[in-house]
């Protein structure tokens, strides 16, 4: 057992045996601060959303005395989600992390490796589940005035219950991977599954929010017919869910249910171990590098490659292609540009109208005129802050050299000045952010329908807002590039430069917005501040980059 826990710890640490070195470990801890912050943000955001909706659901079911259905509903939803997420996690943790080949030659039992992998998967899954279920079930506990015993059982079932659907998912995946060429293309799979996970989480939140905004009658209907059906189906497919639900709704301690739950966990673990022993290792080891489709080039393509193109665009295009085709970069650096608008719009789209006061806001937006100085300053500042934030958080500029890794030498042999190469990388960051911001702006515009002339100041504010953070954060990567990695994750997720980039972006937003508010008595003056301040900084940074780029790049010995 200790061996299993130690293995689990090593796998969780990231990269198997390589991370045992104490030096590497120290650095990584520091580097994961960024993802920790993001995780905390998500945690708080989703937590607040989930508890809000849970209160709503409880309050609506209370008069119908249907509240005891709630734990069952939540747990079945969780079981279904664990099954889906679990399958995806199992594929990536069991098959796509290359550490199996490193553990195999070590004197470890097959069962130990498989169990450790299962525990790693469970940790990730339970983190997600805790994020979604802990707030909701706590709300239920508080509202139903549950005893201390409820909370103990809640934690216990949150830990135990997911193992059952997870093991089921693992068994299915292991069989599929052994018997079919399913999911052999690693890149495509990573991208698709990443998207599915993200959409799944959002879908769930949307769904719950939607429920809570329905009228009581509708809701009762939905729950009695739809949700209850789904829930009872889930209960019969995943053993243990019914028991966990009954543990949470009964006022006495249902010892039999608890024992059954534990028994189900043990049995599914055992089945999963057996399946793993029989089928896992062959499947995992035969997982080669993903191969693309065999595709012959046509003479047309050859001719297209023959056409000479603009150098700057060629440099950008290379980075764009790599960003789009590397799943980790795609999720962290590209999709991030488009995710914030959704985050911000979720409350507007799903939220109940009274709490958001949408009509009032819309009315205010439509009544804006040339003399509404403060409101216009606020809107301009929001757009500036948002655009800068999107650029700063996409991390493209802050990781532009780190992402090259050991291929940085390529930048050194091509006959293009370092300044130009780095500016091309900055432009990629700007380009992605501009797309994200424009989509958000258009969505916001359609939502609030402000007077058309307002577009002009907003579009004037936008360019500096996206260029400044990108140009500023590139300096961190120029000074401390993180080039020695064997896994793309390290270049973007565990890279302090990305965090520094975000921090400096916050600083730059403050530096620009505060003066504009001081001038908010006359909005054109505030607009001037929002343009002049960042552009001055941009020009200064531009010259600083020209001074530093060549010297720094020569100094970097990859």
């Amino acid at each position: 057992m200790r061996q299993i826990l130690r293995l689990t710890y090593i796998m969780l640490k990231g990269n198997g045996i390589a991370s045992l070195g104490s030096d590497a470990r120290k650095k990584r801890k520091f580097g994961s601060l960024g993802s920790l912050l993001l995780f905390l943000f998500l945690f708080v955001y989703l937590g607040a959303m989930m508890s809000g909706s849970s209160i709503g659901i409880y309050k609506m079911l209370e008069p119908l005395s249907l509240t005891t259905m709630i734990p069952g509903l939540y747990l079945s939803a969780a079981a279904i989600m664990t099954f889906v997420f679990g399958a995806v996690y199992v594929i990536s943790i069991f098959y796509y992390s290359s550490d199996v080949t490193r553990f195999l030659p070590l004197p470890l039992k097959a069962g130990e490796i498989i169990s450790a992998k299962l525990l790693v998967t469970a940790v990730y899954i339970e983190m997600v589940m805790a994020m979604l279920l802990l707030p909701s079930l706590t709300v239920y506990g508080v509202l139903s005035e549950a005893s201390f015993q409820y909370y103990v059982l809640m934690v216990l079932s949150l830990i135990l219950m997911p193992f059952i659907p997870l093991c089921l998912a693992a068994v299915i995946v292991i069989l599929l991977m052994r018997l079919t060429p399913f999911a052999r293309n690693k890149d495509r799979f990573n991208t698709v599954s990443g998207l599915v996970l993200m959409l799944g989480t959002f879908g769930f939140v949307f769904f719950i929010q939607n429920l809570s905004s329905k009228t009581d009658g509708d809701l009762a209907q939905i729950i009695e017919n739809g949700a209850a059906n789904v829930s009872s189906a889930a209960m019969s497919v995943f053993p243990g869910v019914r028991q966990a639900a009954s543990l949470l709704t009964s006022s006495r301690l249902e010892l039999l249910d608890l024992l059954l739950l534990i028994l189900f966990v043990a049995v599914s673990w055992l089945i999963m171990l057996l399946a793993g022993r029989a089928f896992y290792f062959q499947g995992a080891v035969s997982m080669g590098v993903s191969g693309g489709r065999k595709r012959k080039i046509s003479s047309g393509e050859l001719a297209a490659a023959g056409k000479s193109g603009n150098i700057f665009w060629t440099l950008m295009l290379k980075d764009i292609r790599i960003l789009l085709r590397t799943p980790i970069f795609l999720m962290n650096n590209v999709i991030m540009n488009f995710i914030w608008p959704i985050f911000l719009l979720v409350p507007f789209i799903t939220g109940s109208e009274e709490t958001i006061q949408l009509p009032a806001l819309r009315l205010m937006a439509q009544q804006l005129n040339y003399s509404s100085n403060l409101p216009i300053t606020i809107v301009m500042s929001i757009v500036f802050g948002f655009a800068a934030f999107v650029t700063g958080t996409n991390g493209i500029a802050a990781s532009c050299l780190s992402r090259e890794g050991r291929l940085l030498y390529f930048m050194k042999i091509i006959p293009v000045s370092y300044n130009k190469q780095i500016l091309a990388k900055v432009s990629v960051s700007v380009m992605m952010a501009v797309f994200g911001c424009l989509i958000a702006l258009i969505a916001g515009w359609i939502f609030f329908l402000p007077p058309i002339w307002l577009a002009l100041p907003l579009l004037l504010v936008l360019p500096a807002a996206v260029i400044l953070p990108a140009l500023a954060s590139v300096f961190f990567d120029l000074l401390w590039p993180k080039l020695h990695w064997d896994n793309e994750q390290r270049a973007v997720k565990q890279n302090m430069n990305v965090l520094y980039g975000m921090l400096v972006t916050m600083l730059l937003i403050a530096v620009t917005i505060v003066p504009s508010f001081l001038l908010s008595w006359f909005w054109p003056a505030a607009l001037a501040a929002l343009i002049i301040i960042p552009w001055t900084l941009i020009i200064a940074l531009f010259f600083l980059l020209r001074l530093m780029a060549t010297r720094q790049m020569i100094g970097i010995e990859a």
């Binding site: 890149d187 590098v289 693309g292 490659a305 150098i311 042999i413």
Partner: protein, 244 residues
């Protein structure tokens, strides 16, 4: 022509990986750079190509200093690095277009060169695929095509023969010969002596960062005892260096 003038380099300021070497690599010849593992071959090539900057000394490519006139110097050479794993997520053709654009190869020449080089190295069918699906040898071939796309005056290859099948190795040797016959410079490193013996006009032996010999194959033969094989010459040179 490549000129190395009193070039030294040490990593982490300890042992000298390259110790004050002087070397002239003339036009129109194939120049072999020989030495045991860790002798400093790759380090030297990285300095010639601007990947590392020397601690002291200067390097001229067609008269352009890689230190003071880097961009002009970089336009002169094409490099086939010892590790051909580049941009795994680009397709072969995309990589070649990238190289063509970066070196500003005119449209007419480019299409023709890609087609003929790819055909010669039998890589045409793979050009539409991602580089990550290539074998080691295929990647090497792609690097060769990329390096020759702009018809550089200087062609630098680090351990080019490893991973190539006999037919491709033969083809590569021919290509090196043709390049030199056009009056251009070919500089390649190897520790495979037969390769050096068969295709070099000139060669230099480096060991522990120092040049032990530099000259033509015949000069090397003259210097040594009669009918000694290149292998024993090489071993003797390295052993003598060890003693001193």
């Amino acid at each position: 022509m490549i000129e190395l003038l009193n070039v030294s380099k040490s990593y982490h300021s300890e042992v000298k990986a390259v110790d004050n070497i002087n070397l002239t690599i003339p036009d129109g010849r194939i120049f072999g750079f020989l030495g045991p593992n860790g002798a400093g071959k790759t380090t030297t090539i990285k300095m010639i190509t601007g990947i590392l900057s020397p601690d002291s000394g200067d390097i001229l490519l067609q008269g352009n200093s890689i230190i003071n006139n880097a961009l002009a110097a970089k336009r002169c050479f094409g490099l086939v690095p010892d590790d051909p794993n580049v941009f795994p997520r680009l397709r072969g053709l995309e990589y070649l277009k990238f190289m063509g654009d970066v070196y500003q190869v005119p449209t007419e020449q480019r299409t023709e060169r890609i087609a003929s080089l790819a055909k010669r190295l039998s890589l045409t069918d793979a050009l539409g695929e991602k580089i990550q699906s290539y074998s080691h040898g295929m990647r090497q071939k792609l690097m060769i095509i990329g390096a020759l796309l702009h018809a550089p005056d200087i062609w630098i290859l680090d351990e080019p023969m490893t991973g190539l099948d006999p037919q491709s190795a033969f083809e590569l040797k021919n290509m090196m010969r043709e390049h030199a016959d056009k009056g251009k410079t070919v500089f390649f490193s190897t520790h495979v002596l037969e390769v050096a013996e068969r295709i070099c006009d000139d060669l230099a032996v480096i060991d522990h960062g120092q040049i032990r010999f530099s000259g033509t194959l015949e000069q090397m033969r003259e210097q040594s005892r009669a009918d000694e094989s290149l292998e024993s010459m090489f071993l003797r040179l390295v052993a003598e260096g060890e003693k001193s």
